[in-house]
């Protein structure tokens, strides 16, 4: 896999496509038009309207204050949501792992689980006593130690950093650990 392909696929895997949003937005735009078109056809063939003729629909909406403000507010909300979707980066919670042969993309919950595992193993506690919150560039590892057994924060930091180095995560992540004050009886 050449670098260009790797970079292209890496970007596609780490960002939303927005295809679903586009489909939904197009149907939201199309459905009122379909209704007006049905009314327009009925008007053209001289059949009674389902509700009102197209021009009357426009006049009713623009002529009734509550309806006018309601429809305008809905259009503003939909418009702003669509603009946010168009301009937001749309990052997915994923990172890449260095690999010469292929592109490896890993979900953040898998990576967080690996860091928790490394932290728990260093502290000598069960895996479910370590939890990791992972951002794009930062990982916060939280650990509940066993009562009566001191856990070195530096050791846990070193273990998680070593795990990150071993995996060669991209974009790079810095781990920071926190040892909770309240311990747990038992391992």
């Amino acid at each position: 896999m050449n670098e260009r392909m790797r970079s292209r696929y890496g970007r596609r895997m780490r960002h939303r496509s927005r295809s679903v949003a586009v489909s939904i937005a197009l149907w939201i735009a199309a459905l009122p038009l379909v209704y007006l078109a049905v009314e327009a056809v009925l008007e053209l063939v001289g059949a009674p309207a389902l509700w009102q003729a197209p021009l009357q629909v426009v006049e009713t909406v623009t002529g009734t204050e509550a309806l006018r403000f309601g429809v305008a507010a809905a259009a503003v909300v939909i418009g702003l949501v669509l603009l946010v979707l168009a301009f937001a980066p749309g990052r997915l919670g994923r990172h890449e792992l260095a690999d010469e042969r292929m592109l490896v993309v890993v979900d953040d919950d898998v990576l967080a689980g690996a860091l928790s595992r490394a932290a728990a193993s260093t502290a000598g506690v069960e895996r479910d006593r370590a939890s990791t919150s992972l951002g794009r560039r930062k990982a916060d590892v939280s650990l509940r130690p066993t009562s009566g057994f001191a856990v070195s924060r530096e050791d846990v930091d070193r273990a998680t950093e070593r795990e990150l180095e071993r995996l060669a995560v991209r974009p790079s992540v810095r781990a920071r650990s926190r040892i909770e004050q309240a311990g747990v009886v038992g391992r």
């Binding site: 295809s19 735009a29 503003v76 592109l103």
Partner: protein, 183 residues
């Protein structure tokens, strides 16, 4: 991962957003004129919808047909791009299931891997997307090493090395399976 054009998706959302805001501005035209345009000494000519008369129903029908065609085209073509042919060379084609089988066999016995699925993308020069579902709290470095070894075996058996994208993920299976304990 699909072949859909991400830039066009963003552009469509931008256009639809601008159209929605323009529609809202038309509805709020009296207030916009009163509070924004008139104090600034600006006036916008009336749209004169009533003058459109007989053209309006036709214009609405044409717009609706176009909108439905575009919406249908986008919805029906969304997500396409994956199929079952992994390698196509001269008269020989290799099914994605065959490579998926090789990866499964190589990862069999690896307790942290729950499921492997392989699909092929792209027109010219197929790219393989291998989705590897793992348990929660899996040893990621070990899974990565095992998947790399499985892909190397597949390359050897196929006699070529197609581009591979591996997606290591959890999912419903992982939530149901939980984590393994080695003690």
């Amino acid at each position: 991962m699909t072949r859909s054009n991400r830039f066009l998706n963003r552009l469509a959302l931008l256009l639809l957003g601008v159209i929605a805001l323009a529609g809202a501005a038309l509805l709020l035209r009296p207030e916009i004129e009163q509070y924004l345009l008139e104090p600034a000494g600006l006036m916008v000519p009336s749209l004169g919808l009533d003058q459109l008369g007989s053209i309006l129903p036709i214009a609405i029908i044409v717009l609706a047909v176009l909108a439905v065609i575009v919406a249908l085209a986008v919805t029906l073509t969304r997500g396409r791009g994956a199929d079952g042919t992994a390698i196509e060379q001269d008269a020989v084609s290799v099914d994605a299931n065959l490579i998926e089988g090789i990866l499964r066999r190589e990862l069999d016995g690896e307790g942290e891997v729950l499921h492997v699925r392989l699909r092929a993308f792209g027109k010219k020069g197929r790219t393989l997307l291998a989705e590897v579902q793992v348990r929660r709290g899996a040893d990621l470095a070990n899974v990565h090493r095992r998947v790399s070894a499985a892909v190397a075996t597949a390359d050897e058996l196929l006699g070529e090395a197609p581009p591979v994208v591996t997606h290591i993920t959890t999912g419903l299976r992982a939530r149901l399976a939980g984590s393994t304990r080695t003690h």
